[in-house]
């Protein structure tokens, strides 16, 4: 648990031993599997000490894992020559070849199920969903086959399903979803949802090296956001799954959140500090396993809890968190636990509708002031 020491993402541990002993060389690939193309400039930013966006951090993580471990391969729609809908794998196929950066037919269930078969044989597939909205097409293999495999003694399934999520980009109901809770209820799946470039890279590497299936969510509004550019450690590092990150220390109330709402909560905290309210912000980073200890520790300190998520209200993670706190820290609470979430509708397309649908800074301010004054 990292809440004590994690301010500024300091809990990111430096590299555990890489599986093949192959920490990435600045000179290029260490494995001979490559199809020959040179390592493009746009995956050399960290090597050069330049800041990277969240998208570039994800790209570097994928590149370095493909170099490190010949068992890792990527599959999905339009990820090869085209480089993916968001260009995450731009320039990969020329270097790693079509078998390791594999274009697939439009068949989310098909290639997710196939990834499981490859994982049975010892490979470590990374599936790209063009938009995470489409992961629902793979709900069947994910929840029935993949999530249960280890438990039913059919072996571990080390695999990652990653892709863009989230609203605020006018994508409409089928390119804006946050489908994490559809999987939170399924024992056997891990769920990661980073909100900084450093965590995006370290958590994706940890997910690829993890021996369980991991769903990895990338908020597309963060992909190229200038305010999230940062210089990453030059060395190979992972951020362990299951550890929340203390984003901001405060004493008056705790906001437990993740994804884009960490940054909205930070904006609210900047306003509240002028009103004499010190907000503590806990970034979950991993929803499953849930860092219950970090939540309880913060609540025991501030005695007030607000959960904020961009996901819709009913069945959202706020309900689960509130029940855990009720079970284990009810005596520490000085106010009711509250939540700020999206509305219980599909994600609307038109800007005025979508803005009304999404939780925003003003919602967080209202809820935080109410709690602080309770």
């Amino acid at each position: 648990m990292s809440a004590k020491s994690a301010k500024g993402a300091k809990s990111a541990k430096s590299a555990k031993s890489a599986k093949k002993g192959g920490v990435v060389s600045a000179d290029g690939p260490v494995e001979a599997e490559a199809a020959g193309g040179a390592k493009p400039d746009h995956v050399r930013q960290t090597e050069r000490g330049e800041p990277v966006t969240v998208l570039e951090a994800i790209r570097e993580a994928l590149w370095e894992e493909l170099e490190r471990d010949p068992d890792v391969f990527i599959l999905g729609e339009d990820i090869g020559v085209y480089g993916g809908a968001f260009k995450v794998t731009d320039g990969f196929v020329g270097h790693f070849g079509e078998d390791r950066v594999m274009d697939t037919p439009i068949s989310e269930a098909g290639f997710t199920g196939a990834a499981a078969g490859a994982a049975h044989m010892g490979l470590r597939p990374v599936v790209e969903m063009q938009f995470m909205d489409f992961v629902s097409c793979a709900y069947e293999p994910l929840t029935n086959y993949i999530a249960t495999s280890r438990w039913r003694k059919a072996g571990p399934l080390p695999m990652v399903i990653r892709g863009p999520v989230g609203g605020g980009v006018r994508g409409g109901p089928f390119h804006s979803q946050n489908p994490e809770m559809a999987f939170f209820h399924t024992p056997g799946l891990k769920i990661v949802y980073p909100c900084t470039a450093r965590d995006a890279k370290g958590l994706l590497k940890a997910a690829i090296r993890d021996d369980d299936p991991v769903l990895y969510f990338e908020h597309k509004k963060m992909y190229r956001a200038p305010f999230l550019r940062e210089v990453l450690p030059a060395e190979d590092y992972v951020v362990p799954l299951g550890e929340a990150r203390l984003h901001r220390e405060g004493s008056d109330l705790t906001i437990v959140t993740y994804g884009m709402m960490v940054h909205e909560s930070q904006k609210a905290a900047d306003t509240l500090v002028e009103e004499g309210i010190e907000v503590e912000i806990l970034d979950l980073r991993t929803l499953m396993p849930l860092d219950e200890e970090a939540i309880l520790e913060s609540v025991r300190k501030t005695n007030r809890l607000l959960v904020v998520h961009e996901d819709t209200r009913t069945g959202g993670i706020a309900g689960e968190i509130a029940m855990r706190v009720s079970e284990k820290a009810f005596e520490w609470l000085d106010a009711p636990m509250l939540r700020v979430t999206a509305l219980d509708t599909p994600v609307p397309y038109s800007p005025p509708l979508e803005d009304y649908f999404l939780p925003n800074v003003e919602d967080i301010l209202v809820a935080a002031r109410y709690l602080a004054g309770y």
């Binding site: 098909g110 997710t112 196939a114 990834a115 490859a118 044989m121 029935n144 003694k153 284990k328």
Partner: protein, 356 residues
């Protein structure tokens, strides 16, 4: 080997040795006898849940698996049997006692009582247990074949399907992906005329299941599924095609499910006379007759095989019956790596919700 109804027997050329032909007989007999014992156990209420038999279609599982590279060190071909492919599983190395333990939900079976019947896996021996959601195994086995491609291994993946499974979206997505990537996958469609109670006329408007191979741009072949040698020869061609990099084959086996979907199913939906008609084409009886009339075996040799099978099946049943049921809390761990499980506070002392 005999074609059509069971009356006449024609000699067909096969390169299989006398010893191999006797081995095929052993597997057919073993499959049938294991299921016979399971039927007794079911009637004694010792089987938990349903019992799914392959009576009358054993030649499909046995004939196909006989054409595969069967090893126990993780270097052979890999199959995913459907519910009526017990024979193929036994041939890949599954233990008859383990199968019985699975059906009896015993604690020291391959899944420790967590999963049902033939839903269990052994990747070194080369079988991947199915789950109940039909079609997903076509996707999974496409991925197994994908791993062979990535590692440049000349291994073949085989997925078994009933006629009903072909109607799922997963069947299509998996087979299409394998076809596009030209992966070494053989999709065996065992057309036994019924999916539970639904006849094939209500499953597809296509003339045959093998006709669908054209739609995927892959090789297709249809064969008498009750002729074990014909099934073997057809599978051998599909295996060679896959190993040579030719891509998938859809192999349709024409057979018949002599029993209901599961033991409880009284088959009232089957037209009068149909079962009797297929009884005359019983694949085990046909094969016995072919062996004897073609001088491939003597009655004494076949008798010896049957005795051997009877002894093995008896020992398997004794082991399965002696095996314990699982401890109640034995199902809580291993949801994740290193996971030791969670116990509700109401089942721990002292009772304190803070500790759950």
């Amino acid at each position: 080997m005999a074609r059509g109804s069971g009356g006449t027997v024609e000699a067909v050329e096969t390169e299989l040795s006398r010893e191999q032909l006797h081995e095929i007989y052993y597997w057919l007999q073993l499959t049938r006898e294991v299921e016979q014992v399971l039927t007794h156990l079911y009637r004694q209420n010792k089987v938990i849940g349903g019992l799914y038999r392959s009576l009358g279609q054993e030649a499909g599982a046995v004939g196909t698996a006989f054409a595969l590279r069967r090893r126990s060190d993780g270097t052979g071909d890999v199959i995913s049997p459907a519910i009526r492919d017990l024979g193929a599983m036994l041939m890949m190395g599954a233990d008859a006692a383990d199968v019985m333990k699975q059906y009896m939900a015993k604690g020291d079976g391959p899944t420790g009582g967590r999963e049902t019947n033939v839903h269990f896996s052994d990747y070194r021996k080369g079988y991947v247990g199915l789950i109940s959601h039909l079609g997903v195994m076509v996707e999974v086995m496409t991925g197994v074949a994908m791993s062979f491609r990535l590692r440049k291994e000349d291994r073949v993946a085989v997925v078994y399907s009933g006629d009903g499974m072909t109607s799922t979206g997963a069947f299509h997505e998996g087979l299409n992906l394998a076809a596009v990537k030209k992966l070494p996958l053989i999709c065996v469609v065992e057309n036994n005329m019924y999916a539970y109670s639904t006849p094939i006329s209500r499953q597809t408007a296509a003339e045959s299941f093998v006709a669908k191979a054209d739609g995927y741009g892959i090789r297709g072949e249809r064969v008498d599924g009750n002729d074990v040698i014909a099934v073997y020869e057809a599978t051998k061609r599909a295996v060679e095609h896959a190993r040579d990099g030719g891509g998938p084959t859809l192999l349709e086996l024409m057979t018949y499910r002599m029993k209901g979907h599961a033991e409880h199913d009284g088959q009232k939906y089957v037209p009068a006379g149909e079962i009797e008609e297929w009884e005359a084409r019983d694949p085990v009886v046909r094969y016995e007759r072919w062996l004897l009339e073609g001088d491939h075996a003597t009655e004494a040799e076949l008798e010896a095989v049957r005795d051997r099978v009877a002894g093995e099946v008896d020992r398997a049943r004794e082991a399965a019956e002696a095996s314990p049921m699982p401890e109640p809390a034995a199902g809580i761990d291993d949801v994740y790596a290193g996971d030791t499980g969670w116990t509700p506070w109401t089942r721990r002392a002292p009772h304190d919700p803070h500790e759950a």
